[in-house]
Amino acid sequence: MSAPTHLETDILIVGAGGAGMYAAVAAARGGARALLVDKSLISRGGSTIMAQMTVAVAVGEEEPDHWTHHLADTLKAGRGLCNGELAAALCREAPDRIREMDRWNVGWARGENGRMRQVMAPGHQLQRCVYVDFLNTGPAVAKTLRTQVAQGDNISRVSGLAILDVVVRDGRVTGAVGMNMEDGAPVTIAAKAVILAGGGLTRLYARNSASVNMNGDSYAMALRAGADLIDMEFPQFFPIGHLAPRLVGMDPIMWDPFRYKLGGRLLNGDMDEFIENYGESDSGKYTAMRDVTSYAIWKELEAGRGSPAGGAYLSFEHIPENQLRAAFGPVIDRLADNGIDLTRRPVEVAPIAHYHMGGVRVDARMRTRVSGLYAAGEAVGGANGANRLSGNAISEAFVFGERAGRFAAEDLSGLRADWGAADAAPILDELAALKSRARPVDQHRDATSGKLWRELQELMWNDVGLLRTGDKLARALDRIQAMRRDDLAALQPPGDAAFNMEILDWYDLRAGLLVAETIAMAAINRRESRGAHQREDLPNQDPEFEKNQTVTLDGETPVLGWMDVVRARRELSPVEAAQ
């Protein structure tokens, strides 16, 4: 075999969504060479571009606000489990990032007075969320950062390069190994630092709202490199994902912005409001937090009070058409193309896997416990505790991305370029072995990786999803472990083929199954209900469990541990902080 293509950089950034692109800009600004790669296309894959509307930030344009108020709301939503240092960094620096994006002409919506518009979102005490009309926050943000990346002299970027593993020697990162999607060829990359910015894990669930590449890559790569994870039992379910009628060309999260702007009424199958029965109020306004609303919809469904397609109704029938048009302009026409007229009929909505609160454990400089390995964006665990506030995900992508890039660049003087081809050999050998056990590309009448993916998604949705029991979790864990051990090993993807999605499926499944195992294990071990982790057999929140769960990898086996919650050093009052 000829030597693989070899690249060199100071900082390799894996994943080119909001966090990865911001990291590249910040790394270059800090004087480092950055290589930004994505297995999809730069800025197009990932979750950032899917963002419909809200970005939470205490810029105080709509009404007086301060980042410590934002922090207080974030900590409250997190049900006691937020890493206070990360949450404080997120809230303190979000205004800088949002104003920087403004200078880069992202186009935040503004009122006639020239001030940024900010809307109220569930769990926030103030009108705090900026956005780009109409439902265009994600595309606008992605385009703005793509332009900044393209203008950075020290930034190289490669689309269609899937990173398979980080290369580590003696507890220190030396680079990574990837595969070029177009021809399947291996690529080695020497780097002094690696920033994992590959997003979350929502692809593990049958009903999800994210792009296809969110299969837990960053978590799995971090684990295999020797870093640890935190809060893996807390994937977030967005309560009102679109369910019916079938809608194309729109993200299933789209009803979120409709509720921000217009309120709307959430009704069960009997056309009754029900959130009040679960301890929150929601009538006509959008105030109930995500964990409670998801739980309430599921419970109504279980009680036989669901909508026909298996969810709840969301009604805007009481809102005049001119008001709908003023708020959403051309989106109303896109709905009409789908046969939806909000003035005449309610739509059906249901919970959908949306985000992961858990992830790679980092310190306030975004460093993992492996020297030279950083994480950014949704890949980071801890900032949002057991339940994320609306609007914190894009803020987190910007803030953690910028911090990871800035700190990695600062740390470079203490990191050595120490690439050794021998360290990459096991990863390259694994890829070669996978290809050599391959079947010919034209013998394909068995949907191998596709079937395994579907089974995993159904299993996670049914048994490791929104409402959990010890029995269901244990059953799921058994099957996940068998899939990791037996089914994955039996897959025979075609060997050398252009755009070989089955080889990528194998790596995606390897990551997804490992991460699924950590979620099931952590969910079994957390013997209480809290935030997004709801155990029907253990329905109460227990103060004993106000601590974080960690995961490390021993050989191939995930190992759980507990740690005390990192609290913010001291939460300053707004008056103190302003001084």
């Binding site: 296809v212 194309v248 949907a447």
Partner: protein, 117 residues
């Protein structure tokens, strides 16, 4: 409403003999061409090469292909009861099946290596 529709897909890579393969796919009203291609990958043939990321939102703009002779995004092209014929973009270099080279030139490995591409 038919139970299944036939989806004809162009198969083969750059430099190979190209052929058309037909798949019967369960039909439900309102489904998109991408729904059908994803169903084929999940249930019949995982080796089918398609390029997509955001699945349903028409945000990533990666799934552009030729559907019944018209260039469209597969995620917003609704399937009729007569099925569809799906081909790669005619004006882009073919990679395999319905995947073409739509990567911006400055984002390719070849560009980074200074090679010709």
């Amino acid at each position: 409403m038919p139970e299944t529709v036939t989806i004809k897909v162009q198969r083969g890579a750059e430099g190979e003999i190209l052929h058309t393969e037909a798949f019967d796919v369960p039909y439900c009203q309102g489904m998109s061409a991408l729904d059908a291609l994803m169903w084929i990958r999940a249930n019949i043939d995982s080796s089918l090469a398609i390029r997509y990321s955001c699945i349903n939102a028409n945000a990533c703009k990666e799934c552009m292909m030729r559907i019944d002779g018209r260039t469209q995004y597969a995620c917003t092209a609704r399937l009729g009861t007569g099925g569809a014929t799906i081909e790669p973009l005619p004006n882009k270099r073919l990679i395999r099946d319905v995947v073409t080279d739509i990567v911006p030139p400055k984002e390719t490995l070849g560009n980074l290596l200074g090679g010709i591409k």
